[in-house]
């Protein structure tokens, strides 16, 4: 033990010296911000329950760049990719690796709100440009807003607010909510409660389970016991598939209408099959949106990736479009940060979803559609709320 300890102690000392030497040899970073390639760091889930979303976002992003000649602001791109595994615990480390070790110019990500919260903190601390192509944590463009942080997706409460309004208009009186217990779920349900109760309804019970568990049996029994007029849920990815199927297996879909944020049925219809037919959801995108940009986008995406695009692909696409707008304004010179950010903030994008502008906190202002599942599509049957912006509470920009 003694000799082993000595050896290990020497190892420790050598390791320390080794670190020092390695860091001396570390490149200091690209001081020439104008020339050379733009380093884009993609921090997204490529494994786990949100893997499909990470891939769709990446595809959409790269498609927009390709359509722009493969460059942004006249400069070529170098991608750095990190799989964040939708794990908030590893988020600061992962973000630090991209920002401090790889020295990326732009950070793009992510799906999971908890991970994005950590990412936005690291980006704010290091003043790195961050574009969020999905995670909807309200706070990121609220109290935690910053000049260098942008979002091209949505904020969690927007979908809930829209659906709550629609349900209240449909004269539903009581509701039960169910979701995973994390920022995205809590805020979505919170938005629903706010507008539903403002419209005269009452949320009789708020249920939740830890992310990403999918054992719903006791909750379904409780819902059946409470017999509300409507059930609002927030689930996405694999969890959404299971919930919709379990809801149908429990026979609840025949007596208690199920509604949710659009993620419940986006990208999941194939797996959900019969169980999802007729479900109403709210989202800022849907099938059958007949505008020229959307038609062109869908055709191009199908051609490039041999599959139908979904809302996540649209958000990734818009993230790249936003960056391109900014980079064009400063002609690729990222050193001109103030002009870059101003141009991005004022951008009016022609998005496949319709028109997209950003509010003070750099969060999207867009139409929220009401959709119904028909066959394998989320058919847009109306506009739930037009030009919904969520008030940037506490944003000091």
């Amino acid at each position: 033990m003694e000799a082993k300890r000595n050896v290990l102690r020497h190892v420790g000392a050598i390791a320390a010296v080794g670190f020092a030497a390695a860091s001396l040899l570390l490149p200091v970073g690209d001081a020439l911000a104008q020339q050379g390639k733009v380093k884009i760091g993609l921090m997204l889930p490529y494994t786990g329950t949100f893997a499909a979303l990470g891939t769709a976002i990446t595809n959409g992003f790269k498609l927009a760049v390709e359509e722009n000649g493969g460059k942004v602001g006249g400069r070529e791109i170098e991608y750095f990719t990190v799989d964040d595994e939708s794990d908030p615990a590893k988020a600061p480390d992962n973000a630090n690796k991209l920002i401090k070790r790889d020295q990326v110019d732009v950070l793009v990500g992510t799906v999971h709100s908890g991970v994005a919260l950590a990412m936005s903190k690291v980006a704010r601390d290091n003043n790195t440009l961050l574009i969020i192509p999905n995670a909807g944590a309200d706070d990121i463009t609220g109290p935690l807003c910053a000049a260098n942080v942008f979002r091209t997706s949505f904020s969690n409460s927007q979908m809930g607010i829209a659906m709550g309004k629609v349900m209240a208009e449909q004269k539903k009186k009581t509701a039960v909510t169910l979701t995973w217990k994390y920022a995205a779920g809590d805020e979505s349900v919170g938005g629903f409660k706010e507008s539903f109760e403002a419209g005269g309804g009452k949320v009789v019970k708020e249920l939740s389970l830890p992310f990403p568990q999918v054992e719903f049996q006791s909750y379904l029994t409780e819902i059946a016991a409470l017999k509300p007029d409507v059930v609002y849920v927030f689930f996405a990815g694999g969890g959404a598939v299971k919930f919709v199927k379990d809801y149908a297996a429990a026979g609840l879909n025949k007596t208690i209408p199920l509604v949710g944020a659009g993620f419940l049925t986006d990208g999941t219809l194939e797996a959900q099959g019969e169980a999802a037919q007729g479900l109403l959801t709210t989202l800022h995108y849907g099938d059958g949106l007949n505008n020229p940009k959307n038609n062109a986008f869908r055709a191009a995406y199908m051609k490039a990736f041999k599959s139908e695009p979904d809302v996540y692909a649209v958000q990734g696409y818009d993230a790249a479009q936003l960056l391109i707008v900014g980079m064009n304004a400063v002609k690729g010179d990222m050193g001109k940060r103030a002009e870059l950010v101003a141009a991005m903030g004022a951008a009016k994008l022609d998005s496949p979803r319709g028109s997209l502008a950003l509010n003070k906190g750099h969060n999207p202002i867009h139409d929220i559609y009401l959709r119904k599942v028909e066959g394998k599509e989320n058919k847009v049957i109306g506009v739930a709320v037009k030009n919904l912006t969520d008030p940037p509470r506490g944003c000091k920009l």
Partner: protein, 289 residues
């Protein structure tokens, strides 16, 4: 909560508890008989679930997958015991803990390597893919009833094995005094190997039948292991009856806790454990043999 919902939640709780018992029985058996603490027990559950998924995708039939899976898990148990765990009988608990912890990491990464980290659903076999309407609003999936029936049957078989067969007698004897049993000419090594394989198979089987209901996802092994530890701690290490009683207790506490006190759902089970430990530090039942 009206009487029907109460009864249905009771059913939910019992069903969950029986599944937990299946996994926990393997853990407590291995400890009670062989004195080995095996943290990787949850990984066997996960391995079972993933085997069900891959084999069912290949053969298109869950039952075939389960049969093949059981054979494979018995083999796995035998190999693991021979290669790794047999070295641990005379070692102290810290080393057992560390070795099995290392094993968990290995299993998790192998799964990641071979099957990936995605969440998968396993289809409920067609015969059971329907629901019995229990109330005007709620139907109960028949597959869950099937699961409970299977778990009960296995619990019965386990009892018969341990208390009514020669093998069971040897197992119980080996638990009390390994050296004496060896000197009587019984092959204690074989007995231990079989017991270990049995434990592994129980956990894996539980994973296989639970797969359609719980989905197949990376964290499932860890989750079930921790709860099993609580079951074994409450029930008393080495006691099968204790494991059954504690598993049902926990199944009910968890199910009712989720809907009655949603804010404290995950913690209910531990508060229960703390309360019981205050009263009986070594669990409710003394160990078998």
């Amino acid at each position: 909560m009206d009487i029907y919902s109460l009864l249905i939640q009771l059913l939910n709780g019992v069903q969950y508890g029986l599944l937990l018992f299946l996994v926990a029985s393997g853990l407590t058996l291995i400890f009670g008989i062989m004195g080995i603490i095996n943290l990787a027990h949850g990984s066997f559950y996960m391995v079972g679930a993933y085997m069900a998924f891959t084999l069912a995708s290949l053969t298109g039939n869950l039952f075939v997958a389960i049969v093949v899976g059981i054979v494979l898990s018995v083999l796995l148990g035998i190999v693991l015991e021979w290669a790794l765990f047999s070295h641990l009988y005379k070692r102290d608990h810290l080393e057992q803990v560390l070795l099995s912890y290392g094993l968990i990491l290995v299993f998790e990464e192998l799964r990641s390597l071979i099957v990936g980290n995605d969440v998968h659903g396993v289809a409920v076999p067609a015969i059971f893919n329907w629901s019995i309407p229990l109330t005007a609003t709620l139907s109960y999936p028949v597959y869950r009833l099937f699961m409970s029936a299977v778990c009960l049957a296995l619990a019965g078989l386990l009892y018969v094995l341990i208390h009514r067969t020669r093998l069971g007698m040897m197992i119980r004897a080996g638990a009390s005094n390994r050296e004496m049993v060896s000197s009587l000419g019984l092959n204690i090594n074989l007995v231990y190997r079989l017991v270990f394989a049995l434990g592994v198979a129980l956990a894996a089987f539980a994973g296989m039948i639970a797969a359609p209901v719980s989905s197949v996802y990376p964290g499932m092994g860890t989750q079930v292991l921790i709860i099993c530890f609580v079951v074994v701690v409450i029930g008393g290490i080495g006691s099968i009856w204790g494991a059954l009683f504690a598993a049902l207790l926990i199944g009910l506490a968890d199910t009712f806790g989720k809907v009655l006190i949603p804010e404290a759902a995950g913690v209910t089970v531990y508060l229960l454990m703390a309360a019981i430990l205050l009263w009986r530090p070594e669990g409710l039942f003394k160990r078998v043999g």
